[in-house]
Amino acid sequence: MLFSSGTFWLFFPVVVALLVANRFVLRSVALQNAIILGASYVFYGWWDWRFLGLIIASTLVDYIAALRMERHAKGTSGRRRWLHLSVFANLSILGFFKYFGFFANELKAGLSAAGLSAEWGTLDIILPVGISFYTLQTLSYSIDVYYGRARAEGNLLRYATYVAFFPQLVAGPIERARKLIPQFATLARPSWEPAYEGVRLIIAGLFLKVVIADNLAPYVDAVFGNYTALDGGALMLGALYFSIQIYADFAGYSSIAIGLAAIMGFRLSTNFATPFLATSISALWRGWNITLTLFFRDYVYAELRKGKRTERRIALANIATFFVSGLWHGANWTFIIWGTVHGVLLVAERRWRAAVTLADRLWLKGAGWLYTFGLFVALSIFFRSPDIASALHYTGRMVADVGLPQSQRGGLIFVAFSFVVDALWHGRTRLDRGLRLDWMGPRAKDASEMVLFATALILVLINATTRQEANAFIYFQF
């Protein structure tokens, strides 16, 4: 069920109505969680009911493993054994569904190159939607319990609700147990103020997704599907459009997720903070898919960096973390290169920043923005291309035939829209401070915000209804 589909907007009010009825009539926390869990399973099973088996299995394994871990003292082998079981189970699920085909093909290619016969059939494995997100969430829970950073949750219903909470189930924000589980231990208090902010976040998210990302999609498809026949300028636009598309798509999803949760009376983490206004690669990553970046920082980078903190070790940990991040995005060398190069850039930036103290000058900021955004756009070619050869060919043509674009310029209006949204936004997938219109004075600001959000909603409705089918969110494929 897509947030931008009509079905979802019939489903969601029913869930909210049930929660409100429970809040005022029965006042049962267990019933509240049962409603949310049931709704989450309906939401998830809407894609394919068979996916439910995986999420239930993942939930049960981590629920049991965490409880067993707590029975053993810190540092004991028993505690470690249950952690290993949880990590193994989660990575096995992820590995089988997401990476089996990739590694099988790579092995086959390697054996063939070595002159060995490698003939075996392929399995047509469907990648369950959102598997990469909820397995990381459950993994973080097990690791936190192991290190004593979170308590094992004894209430299975509460824990299952944490894993399957539908606003953030399929594409994040990836929530830590210690932040979200306690919210399911009490009766949610939906109230008008968060509901109002939630509605505005949903409108902003739908605008990013339906108006910007979905309108850029045909341009991106046209350029990447026909890059051999287009001029360098058009190819440059294609890469720019894709960068904006993926940002608007994912930040839009996060905004809607946080807004939906707010209406239900729950708080989710900020996931985007205007990354495309960043003036360095490290700043960009502090604002891009924040909860995922924090996951990799806390559970991969922190582990790799343990021991003596030399520059070399930090550099290797950074590159290795981004290698894993690239692999997480997809079972393809293009993603691995995309991630690893970002890691290398971070390391280079760290060294460069150590050598040169950047003054707070406008032209330096401008240059920093150009370098950051330019590199992100250039690397996004690898993210979008089906294989390395295509990505290199695309990049080669783009550089060799550089010039003003002769076609595909229509999408620039949506790029402009995206930067206007970012400029107005306070830099978070939240709106509790309103838009950057304080210079207008409170009354004019309120009125302007009202008109802007109302117009955005109307544009969303127009775009959604005049399009034949709702487009899936890009990050669902990861």
């Binding site: 103020e193 900020t270 008109v451």
Partner: protein
């Protein structure tokens, strides 16, 4: 690192529910202003002269000729508009015949509803010739139907079909752009002025086009439930008022008839029950062979016939009506 929490602290003294109500009012206000612009703005030639704008002419044609003795009204999509000469059938049968064929995307049920007030139960015979594509995707809400509401500035119709509001807003926006840019291009085939006084489209007849490749054509999958919904709607809207109806198959590419003969026959059998005078129904499906035509007779890949094909299909329809009239007079 940025904060990973969202606080949602109240930022002003105005309560959330009042702000929410104000937002809803603002949305409704902007929509109302936008719709007012729709009503006030004259249609540019791009809209007023487009093919679908002929809907007004067709309704006016039926309204003006209501009460004519032995009138025959054809209802279908563009297949009938392009592929049948009502004028020729009228001369053959010596009866007034009008072509109400418009566009499959409008939907058969919407088209029947649109024409129903202008049909005379005592004097009219309604001939239904829906194309398979029209049946496969018949919906009360469709973008084409929303376009009809937009072109006819039908506020009442829009109130009954609120889902069309965003489409009308979008069309109004485009209309404003046409006015600003001074655009007035109209397709040489798909244009309102391409219809004659009997509702036949003639703009394509003088044009030579290469024979369309229909070898990949597949008869669309029409769910049985859809056919029953459509037939039930026709019975309630027309037959219940005493209006006599006759089903005649639309022209179909031969490739589709050959690839899925069972599917085509099942559809025709179900639709044959639309042939009714009062409570009597025809349970026997028509002979489909004459309606399955080779690609040389098609004008394009959308099921529209060229001049040669039009002669054949016109004769097919005239023959079917003639047989029906003979049967009912016996």
């Amino acid at each position: 690192m940025p904060s990973s929490t969202s606080s949602f602290e109240p930022r002003t003294q105005v309560a959330g529910h009042k702000r929410l109500a104000a937002l809803v009012a603002c949305v409704l206000g902007i929509i109302a202003l936008w719709l007012a612009a729709w009503i006030a703005m004259p249609l540019s030639p791009v809209s007023s002269q487009r093919y679908l704008a002929a809907v007004e002419d067709k309704v006016a044609m039926l309204a003006e000729t209501k009460g004519e003795e032995d009138r025959i009204v054809l209802i279908a999509g563009s297949g009938a508009a392009f592929s049948i000469s009502a004028r020729q059938i009228g001369e053959t049968l010596d009866r007034p015949v009008y072509n109400g064929g418009l566009q499959a995307g409008v939907g058969l049920r919407n088209l029947v509803d649109l024409y129903a007030p202008h049909l005379d139960p005592d004097k009219d015979l309604v001939v239904l010739l829906p194309e398979p594509e029209m049946l496969a995707s018949d919906a009360l809400y469709s973008q084409t139907w929303c376009d009809v509401l937009f072109l006819t500035k039908d506020v009442g119709g829009l109130a009954r079909r609120l889902r069309c509001v965003p489409n009308v807003l979008w069309r109004t926006w485009q209309e404003g752009q046409h006015h600003i840019n001074g655009t007035n291009t109209v397709d040489p085939v798909y244009r309102r002025s391409g219809f004659n006084a009997r509702g036949d489209l003639t703009s394509h007849l003088g044009m030579e086009r290469p024979v369309p490749d229909l070898s990949d054509y597949h008869h669309p999958d029409i769910p049985g439930e859809m056919l029953r919904t459509i037939t039930s709607h026709v019975r309630q809207t027309l037959n219940a008022r005493g209006i006599e109806t006759l089903y005649v198959p639309a022209a179909m590419p031969l490739a589709g008839c050959e690839k899925s003969p069972e599917q085509v026959a099942t559809m025709a059998r179900e639709l044959a029950t639309l042939t009714a005078r009062g409570a009597q129904r025809d349970a026997v499906g028509p002979d489909l062979a004459p309606f399955c035509l080779p690609p040389e007779m098609f004008f394009d890949g959308a099921g529209h016939l060229n001049g040669r094909g039009r002669v054949v299909q016109t004769a097919n329809v005239a023959r079917a009506i003639s047989r029906h009239l003979e049967r009912t007079q016996e």
